[in-house]
Point group: C2
Chain length 218, copies 2
């Protein structure tokens, strides 16, 4: 008789989660059946149920692991930024570096987990309230870090922006980064690093900004 654990099933191997995410990335959560997942992972239908309790828990696992990883990277970058001595004359460069690093981390994780990210971005909706709340909390904490960086960047360059303006601008940045799932392919559009640089430049300087040989900000 197990204690009912309404939260995570941490015993599920990462590779199964990743394979299922790859399959769900094509047709979405509702469009991919458990039988599709069984066939795609070379397992039987009932064999899958030894690794997670339900299809919805699988969706939760994909989301939970993805956002936890993104959040850990972002929190590390923010903490490093905060640990710097606050010399005001370097505030512009430091806030620019934080923003640039966050964009690079987001797209970097994305580059190596493209399938999971496709699932993450399209649809927290079909999750139960308990799981949905946990994922929304992770998303919120992640978004707060990006908003902090955007706020710091703007504050170092002009009068600090109101929190709702920072929120909207951060959403625009997320839009640029996440919309990539619809069109990016390595062969056609170059490396993820170059794309991160282009997003950083477009978001901070506008689309007509010249491309520098190295990232330079002043």
């Amino acid at each position: 008789m197990d204690a009912v654990n309404t939260c995570a099933n941490s015993s599920c191997p990462d590779d199964i989660v990743a394979e299922c995410a790859a399959l769900m990335a094509r047709e979405g959560y509702h469009g991919t059946s458990m039988r599709d997942l069984a066939r795609g992972t070379g397992r039987s239908l009932s064999g899958l149920y030894h690794h997670f309790r339900s299809k919805e828990e699988l969706l939760y696992l994909i989301n939970e692991r993805g956002f936890s990883s993104l959040l850990a990277n972002a929190a590390r970058l923010r903490d490093a930024y905060r640990a710097q001595p606050p010399r005001s004359r370097e505030a512009r460069a430091a806030s620019a570096a934080l923003l640039c690093d966050l964009i690079g981390a987001h797209l970097g994780y994305f580059g190596s987990h493209l399938n999971e990210m496709r699932v993450l971005t399209f649809g927290t909706q079909p999750m139960s309230s308990a799981h949905g709340d946990a994922i929304r909390a992770l998303k919120l904490r992640y978004a707060e870090i990006v908003q902090f960086a955007v706020g710091e960047y703007i504050a170092a360059r002009r009068a600090p922006a109101a929190s709702d303006e920072i929120e909207r601008k951060s959403y625009l940045l997320f839009g640029m980064m996440n919309w990539i799932f619809g069109w990016y392919s390595f062969d056609e559009h170059g490396s993820v690093e170059a794309l991160a640089e282009e997003i950083y430049m477009t978001f901070t300087k506008g689309c007509a900004a010249p491309r520098p040989a190295t990232t330079q900000d002043a």
Copy 2:
């Protein structure tokens, strides 16, 4: 004996399409059943089938009408731009106005057809090849107009950009505009017009650009 028409069923009233789009916007195409649509539109299950031949044709109708409308607006703006006498000293202002108007038209249509737009942006995938090709063609023509505007804007301000850079920058712009579906609500985030202005400014000047009282470009 009808001639088999593999394409549109133009006899379906707009309001039914709009109601179905509103329902599909919540849980997506696969997540919304024909019974959900019947209940939601106050009709019977089989009654729906007198307006379209299949669920997939309904998805096609939502996409076809939405993108046709977007495309018509965009083409009108582009033609007006091209009809202007090419006085080079006004090229900067004219290309800025075109870009600003296109963003305004995209978000304006969006503001009055939010539910349809949610369906449009998430998923051309589950469509048959015949329908899918038709929608992809509409999307392509629409994207080409936006790319034209981005190219003109950049060319009027610095050395013309390569076509692949214009393509990427246009995708970033689409990302800012379309990601809105995930978070926008009129009550919290103000009018669509103000948001269009903010996207235009961020895309052209960067996130730290000051907000002018009126749109001014030089």
